[in-house]
């Protein structure tokens, strides 16, 4: 086969990042430049979302990597390569060495690459007036004159777009690429289906998936000879099993090629998607398709994989990250501190026989020092006493009695419910609450655009990290606040972080929220009375409260106040 013009062959499109000069890459406009020339801000678009390229971390499109090994040429060559050479499907276009420049709008190839492998998705769409020889298009156009190919192709496009999302990486949490983090990805916008607006009709096409495994894989050499005997095409969808043909450097490749007229494509898609609902069962419903292909689709559809490095695309993936964060920072589950005022307001007493209890032993259970009768101790509402300094040191971090874990604001002891809820953090309520709250979180500042949304998410997580939600119940049932020693019903517009017990003054607060908080200050008395009523009538249900994670706390805030406004 003749060598075709390639996009990446010489690697000349990219600056050499392996040299002594540092190359900076702009995630916003894909520009790149030497750092010593233009600094870290993109000279083209002034974006500051830039990155110095290193050998380990190269965000530039992988198929343009100048380190492409010899023999691995352009992905575009794949379209010319028919490894099975089936005469029934042999198409003059595909064998034509003089095929023109690959920058046809009807050819698309996308490579999604993760640390553990990559997925190549290539698509060839034939249109009725495609500027090429009549051989290819005639063949595809004739059999199906009455079908609506647009519809089928669009469906397939949507399916692929949905499954792969912008920047799908199957189960590979890695870095985000420029196509995945800052754009919608090519699938949502890039596909051009003619016909509806007077453009060319889609009359046929070909989709190819190539998945590779192993580190730093490249698409196979499309021009090189295929090892192993080519299997005959029994079905419209065939694949090379990972074991038979291997790429020149010994890594296994899985190539799935679907070539079909539109209506048969639709049938194939049905066959592909059919078995997904039955996890673990052999792929009986799609005999022509290998199990690994179905596993690939399953992996695509798995919500756990809907994440790409530091970005997520589904609620489930966000939940998962939040859960992981919570597990990694268990201190955030601990009760928050008592307010200095509440600590200072604790009664101090001279130790007497009555306080010593039946054991008659005087010992501060924090420092384990003996305490003699007549020494001054501080008495908690639960009747446990300590050295003032010992109790203060603990209470300023956690509003619980060092012995019985009861809060000093006189409300129900959280001890039992708290522990039980934490031993089963994945209880249904907890999960549900995380889902609900997480669903609302990004909406709060959705109007501020993409990067601001990220910031909001970060803010929320930062807030969660230092905030420590108190024991709390089902929204609207039990409210328990440990920060100020008083029940307090927040409004939705209140700033999240300032309302979290244990939070510091919030640097992310917006001005409007500040005024909102101030306004609330004037009405807090009435709020409080409402809360105390609420607390008193629901005090008995405290034990049944769901888990006290930050997310359920958030859910409580947002969900509860929402209902209140009803």
């Amino acid at each position: 086969m003749a060598d075709h013009p390639t996009r990446s062959g010489g690697g000349s499109r990219h600056l050499d990042a392996s040299g002594p000069r540092e190359v900076v890459y702009c995630h916003s406009c894909d520009n790149e430049w030497y750092q010593d020339e233009s600094g870290l801000t993109c000279p083209r678009c002034q974006s500051e979302i830039t990155e110095i390229i290193t050998a380990e971390s190269d965000p530039r499109p992988a198929n343009d990597d100048p380190q492409t090994p010899p023999g691995f040429h352009s992905l575009h060559n794949l379209r010319n390569h028919n490894p099975w050479a089936d005469p029934d499907f042999a198409d003059p276009d595909f064998a034509d060495p003089d095929f023109p420049d690959p920058d046809f709008p009807d050819i698309e190839e996308h490579v999604t690459q993760g640390p553990g492998g990559s997925v190549l998705f290539s698509r060839t769409i034939r249109t009725s007036n495609a500027p090429r020889g009549p051989g290819g298009s005639r063949r595809r156009r004739d059999p199906m004159p009455d079908e609506d190919p647009d519809h089928v192709m669009r469906d397939f496009q949507n399916m692929i777009g949905n499954m792969m999302g912008p920047g799908f990486r199957p189960g590979q949490p890695g870095r985000s690429g420029p196509d995945t983090l800052f754009t919608q990805g090519p699938y949502a916008t890039g596909f051009r289906v003619g016909g509806s607006n007077g453009g060319p009709q889609v009359v046929g096409g070909r989709f190819t998936f190539t998945t590779t495994t192993g580190p730093r894989l490249r698409p196979r050499d499309a021009n090189g000879p295929q090892r192993g005997s080519p299997p005959p095409i029994d079905d419209l969808a065939t694949y090379d099993s990972p074991s038979s043909p291997t790429s020149p450097n010994g890594r296994s490749l899985l190539v799935i090629s679907i070539r079909a007229p539109p209506d048969e494509l639709a049938r194939l898609i049905g066959g592909i998607l059919g078995p997904i609902g039955h996890d673990g069962q052999p792929p009986l419903t799609a005999p022509g398709l290998p199990a690994s292909f179905q596993a690939l689709f399953s992996a695509m559809l798995n919500p756990a994989n809907a994440r790409s490095g530091d970005a997520v695309y589904t609620q489930e993936a966000l939940d998962q990250i939040i859960s992981t964060l919570m597990e990694q920072h268990p201190t955030s589950n601990a009760p928050g501190p008592a307010s200095p005022d509440a600590i200072a307001a604790l009664p101090k007493k001279k130790l007497d026989e009555k306080l010593l209890g039946p054991e008659g032993k005087g010992e501060c259970s924090v420092c384990m020092d003996d305490v003699a009768i007549g020494d001054e101790v501080v008495l908690l509402p639960c009747n446990h006493w300590f050295h003032e300094t010992c109790a203060g040191a603990w209470l300023s971090e956690h509003n619980t009695c060092p012995i019985c874990r009861k809060g000093i604001d006189g409300e129900a002891a959280p001890s039992n419910s708290r522990r039980s809820s934490q031993s089963a953090p994945n209880s249904r309520n907890e999960y549900r609450s995380r889902r609900l709250s997480a669903a609302r979180m990004p909406l709060r500042r959705a109007d501020t655009g993409g990067s601001a949304r990220n910031q909001a998410r970060l803010d929320a997580i930062r807030g969660l990290g230092r905030a420590t939600p108190p024991e709390e119940g089902i929204p609207g049932d039990t409210r328990r606040w440990q920060s100020g020693g008083e029940g307090r019903e927040p409004q939705e517009s209140d700033d999240l972080a300032t309302r979290m017990p244990g939070s510091f003054s919030n640097p992310y607060r917006r001005p409007s929220e500040t005024s909102e908080t101030r306004r609330r200050g004037n009405t807090s008395a009435s709020d409080r009375s409402g809360d105390s009523r609420r607390n008193s009538h629901s005090g008995g249900s405290g034990g049944s409260s769901s888990g006290g994670g930050p997310m359920s706390w958030l859910r409580d805030r947002l969900g509860g106040s929402h209902r209140r406004n009803d």
Partner: protein, 152 residues
Amino acid sequence: MSAQKRISKELAEVTNSPPEGIKISLVDESNVHNWNITMDGPEGSPYAGGKFQLLLVLPTDYPFKPPKMNFKTRIWHPNVTFDEHGSMCIGILKPEAWKPSSKIMSVLAATQNLLVEPVPDDAVETSAAEMFKNDRPKFNKTAAEYTKKYAK
């Protein structure tokens, strides 16, 4: 420092009346924060007959922060990671459950109890937890084998 004072008291208490099957020594005599613990595998558990080394680290702000305890001896247990860290997941030492009145003595007792009764729902070694839940005889056999292999 109040921490050292309390730790010294607890050390004296545990040394004078050690819980059954537990021996205590300091890693470094001049530092009361790091304890070597030798724990016998409790009778009635698949760990019986084994001697398990643990390291107890008491933070400088003890008892306001919980101590950390790790198995130095490999142990096949749902709540202990089966690696060189031997990180143990036990309720009493979790930050959200810790209270200053908890003593090292009770931590040791809880650890012994954990060997007798694993908590698979709170597992850190999920493969062990699965085996514990689904195939108890196999779990006991595996745990006993590893005890024989490592915990001498």
